[in-house]
Amino acid sequence: MIYLNHAATSWPKAPRVTEAMARSMEAPPVEAYRGSGDGVDAFASCRKRLARMTGASDPARVIFTSGATESLNLAIGGLELAGKRVIVTMAEHNSLLRPLWRLADRHRTRVTVLPVDEKGRLDPEDLRTALEDDAALVCLTHAGNVTGAVQPVEECYALCEKHGAPLLIDAAQSAGHIDLDLSGMPNSLWIFTGHKGLGGPPGTGGIVLGEAVEPVAVKVGGSGIRSLSREMPDFLPLRLEAGTPNAPGIAGLDAALAEFEDRSVTERADHGRKLVAILEDRLDGLEGCRIVSAPATENPCGIFGFVLSGWSPRDIGFILAESRGIQARHGLHCAPLIHEALKTSPEGTVRFSVGPQTSEDDVRLAANAVLEIARSGRGS
């Protein structure tokens, strides 16, 4: 099998990830936040690694959740946006849009959707204009999951800062592919998932909170300490981490982050760009093929999207899987709005997304399979 669906989830996980999870599962449970029975405090270690990776001021501002979706729900819910205005782009994922639509429907939150171009890129001028009216939050996917386009986060943060609006950076796709220094962005929230570019297990993720952002706790419950109080402990990270934490998951994520000591974010990004360039080289100019993803030079996450005239993405995905054992992804990729900009609604696109283990031969074979389909004649 050729696995080209890393934007959905990375696979295979590094052996040290599964080993760390197994050790955590086998060790006797001990109190949360006081290390696991194997003598390793994976929580502390993982928070430190993430703080180092992002430039966060304090590891305590790294909040663990079950993934980007929970992080977005907690962040958006915790910022108390009822009746206020939020700015997003057409490139956002449903994990961000749906919590906002719910707020719009139930709590009169106003959502302004900014356009993106035919590759999924935001023009910061549109944000500048949108910020002329009050906004309580700006949400920006760092790298789109359909086109791989990278948004100009630093420039957008500067615009937000002028207007006092916090910037929520959805790094679900970019974490592990793009270095971002949050140390100069105190009014930001960095949302990540563990199982994609970071190479960790599913069920892990979190929020890195800038120093100036203090969401209220949406999820409350057991904290393991101060049990007589009616409120959650008033300090981070515990204030935002109710319930039994995912110790094996965090142990796995910690081990996955250690992999970056062997192969840096920059190296991974170079690898992603190189493989997208091979796909572009083979398929750009192919009659009937329209590449919708960002050019290789602007595509560190290694996401290559296309449509083939006369063929539904669903049929292409089926043929690739059944005929060549190529696991790609087709459809809307849970990002419904961007397909209006790409003119790929309602069937969406085919997406190849690469990871650290993907080889040049893998993507050449995938490109050849697409060439074979294109040259076989028209589909429906």
Binding site: R314, D315, F318, I319, E322, S323, R324, G331, L332, H333, C334, P346, E347, G348, A369, E372, I373, S376, G377, G379, S380
Partner: protein
Amino acid sequence: MRIVSINNLEECLDGVTIREYTLSRPHERRFMEHLGTDGRLEVFDFARTFFRVTRPGAYLLKGMEGSETLNVVYSKFRQSHEDALLSHIQAYNTEPRDGERS
């Protein structure tokens, strides 16, 4: 042909019903042609032969030679359409014809 199992598949496309039928035998060329008598058959020779049958207003069916599953998209699901297709599949005689090797 016997239908071993029927599964619902979910995709992000709204408003369609997608079924996966697992059959008792792998698809062969004669079975494709049998399915094609219910609609428009298209056959594409890739590493494994891909085939597709379109019955406008009812379904789009696809499969791969040698596989035992059929993927069927009902654009506007009606039970009568599915019943008719299942009957058509079951009507296929898996016994080789005279002169054919099994």
